[in-house]
Symmetry: C2
Subunit: 381 residues, 2 copies
């Protein structure tokens, strides 16, 4: 390690991408654990579950029938967190009143989608080959294209992906500001259906996290004569190696210097890429390879179905030229497990009230993850 | 409700205290839940557990023996997240290098304490009377005083609390910047010992959350000719009533307009108080009453031992005059449960990657909580 002292002393690290701090307590890793034990799901799932609302040909909660899809399938979330149409909101508070100053709200509309990753009920990304993951990346790219502001510099790109198969998606009536692509994997991460799937929420608002990042990305670019924070960061990490877990020609993947979760990983495009539509076929294949590698290592680490929340940050669908040019494509994996399949890290009291905290250092975590690549520990489905 | 439309449409609310947004999706509350069920602990606990490292006279993990205390007992955490003494850290990176710019760390020292709330292993704050809760508030006040910078305008105050009983605490050698008092209650909140206790972490750094709040408090005070955000807020809420859960002469308690967790509560001092040391005996009694009321309602809501993380925000131990004068004493309760003792809210994928999200509105939550005051649903211990 280039600064071995950081494996010994308590310290804070600055998350330059988000503009916030994390407390690191390496010596605390020895603490015995007497709290709650997670119970990893031991049941083996069938390839097809007649009760599952994501399996092909099944009927969903509100009566619609899924097609007999063979790769991915996208539909509007039956319980969307935001709606396309709703009553307009005009705050009723009096101008200049205390209420106007203190109680600030704004309407949000948008569209939420579910995307199944495979027709098989029982596979996960770790069970899939890069070639099987590729259609998911193509589907995300298509969805992003469909929602882009036609005036965006990104709208003229033709990333040459096969059109969305088996979906009744249509271009939304409104122009949304941001698209959040994500996956919750495992019951620990609030996932209620094991059929491999992700979600896509598009909103008229730019949410908190991408907004914090965008402010930092713009600042760095301005201060460093047009350099990109994450391009510089991936180059540095690829050279330093101690936090690297996987890399190929186009992507660096590793435990960020400022990681909060014990085995947090970020996949970063090495070249400056603003969004999914900036990738060509070869790059999408390399991204699929990164997904396959990371999810396999995760499952291998504690020989379990490793839970996580994962999501893509990229350019807003609708934004200023400065915002779009400063954006840089990357993926965050936030997994809760700490020491085994049953002992997780809690971001609770101190963390919620004061500051995120971790025990094991990012360098130690990366070393563990480097050590568990290769074949999936269980038989691939 | 003064703006009933907010019970129908998806919208964002601005957290003026933190400077961040939360997404509110009232219609989504109807979503069926098929995910993980929490298993609330059903076991009845003994009054004394010989295996417990917090019960009087027992031996702790590293060999020390607890005294036979009769109210609270404070000791240094055997697995502190920060240490008092450690090797000094001088970054080894080269000036102006990429590493210096991107990999920023700083040393943190401090002291972490555990404070037991009662000698009885099986009681919780909800089981205790305000008179039994009072010694806890006195203990916190004493600890705060012990760590205050002698040059702080707060250091000359004499809040007239009985001295710390049964503790071997001594004034630390170093001057720390901030003291975070908190409690994790319940296994869901990472608590590994049911014996009623809280923690106190003091650090050389001002952590993220109080730092975000302080920036907002200072800004408001500057922009509003010296008015205090939380004084104005408590006055407004006390008048509007729809988010109020409990109040007495000195404190307002309710679900904040910008609450993230379904049944989140904030206790706010109505008068401008910077820290625990600003309260007189009567005010401490009223604070104890607020604690007793809120924790009882929480347990009554789903007739369970309601899990939460709770913590106090107040003036830094060491800070500028502007920081100390802008600080305002308040308490946050962050409870995870949503619909029953076994169904919680997950702040996962979208929430981690994009923005915190809630279903039930703060006004609906406050109404539910107003409806479950009075006696504790189970026999008090
Ligand atoms: O200190 P404890 O109770 O062992 O640990 C608990 O509270 C700490 C402070 O919020 C957290 O860092 C831990 O993840 C949690 O399990
Ligand atoms: O939409 P789902 O999978 O039913 O729900 C899950 O993911 C959502 C988005 O992160 C969260 O708001 C929910 O709390 C979680 O249970």
């Amino acid at each position: 390690m280039s600064e071995p002292i950081l494996n010994d002393i308590s310290h804070r690290r600055f998350n330059l991408l988000r503009g916030s701090w994390v407390l690191v307590s390496p010596h605390r890793n020895k603490r015995p654990w007497q709290g709650l034990q997670e119970s990893p799901s031991k049941t083996t799932l069938p390839e097809y579950d007649p009760e599952c609302y994501l399996c092909p040909s099944n009927i969903r909660a509100q009566g619609q029938q899924n097609p007999k899809f063979d790769r991915t399938f996208v539909f509007v979330n039956d319980f969307s967190a935001v709606k396309e149409d709703q009553t307009e909101y005009h705050p009723e508070r009096k101008e200049g009143s205390l209420a106007t100053r203190l109680l600030q709200a704004e309407s949000v509309t948008g569209k939420c989608y579910v995307i199944t990753f495979s027709p098989s009920h029982h596979v996960t990304l770790a069970d899939m080959t890069p070639a099987q993951i590729l259609p998911i990346i193509e589907t995300w790219t298509n969805m992003y294209m469909l929602h882009l502001n036609p005036k965006s510099p990104l709208a003229s790109l033709a990333p040459n992906v096969p059109p969305l198969a088996q979906t009744d998606l249509t271009k939304p009536n409104a122009q949304y500001r941001y698209m959040q692509i994500f996956e919750n994997k495992g019951t620990t991460m609030g996932c209620s259906n094991p059929h491999p799937h992700g979600q896509v929420w598009t909103t008229t608002s730019l949410p908190e996290e991408p907004s914090l990042e965008l402010a930092q990305l713009k600042k760095y670019k301005r201060e460093q004569n047009g350099s990109h924070l994450l391009v510089d960061y991936a180059a540095l990490e690829s050279k330093e190696k101690e936090r690297t877990v996987f890399e190929n020609r186009s992507f660096w993947a590793g435990v960020p210097y400022w990681a909060v979760w014990p085995f947090e990983i970020m996949i970063v495009s090495k070249q400056h890429k603003r969004a999914l539509v900036d990738f060509d076929e070869k790059e999408r294949e390399e991204l699929a390879e990164a997904f396959s590698d990371i999810t396999t290592r995760y499952d291998n680490l504690f020989e379990t179905q490793f839970p996580y929340s994962m999501g893509i940050h990229q350019a807003p669908l609708d934004g200023t030229e400065e915002e779009i040019e400063a954006s840089h494509f990357h993926i965050h994996f936030y997994p809760p497990l700490l020491r085994s399949a049953s002992v997780r890290k809690y971001q609770v009291g101190y963390e919620m009230l004061a500051e995120p905290q971790r025990d094991i250092t990012p360098e130690q975590a990366a070393e563990r993850l480097r050590g568990c690549g290769g074949e999936l520990y269980r038989k691939k489905l």
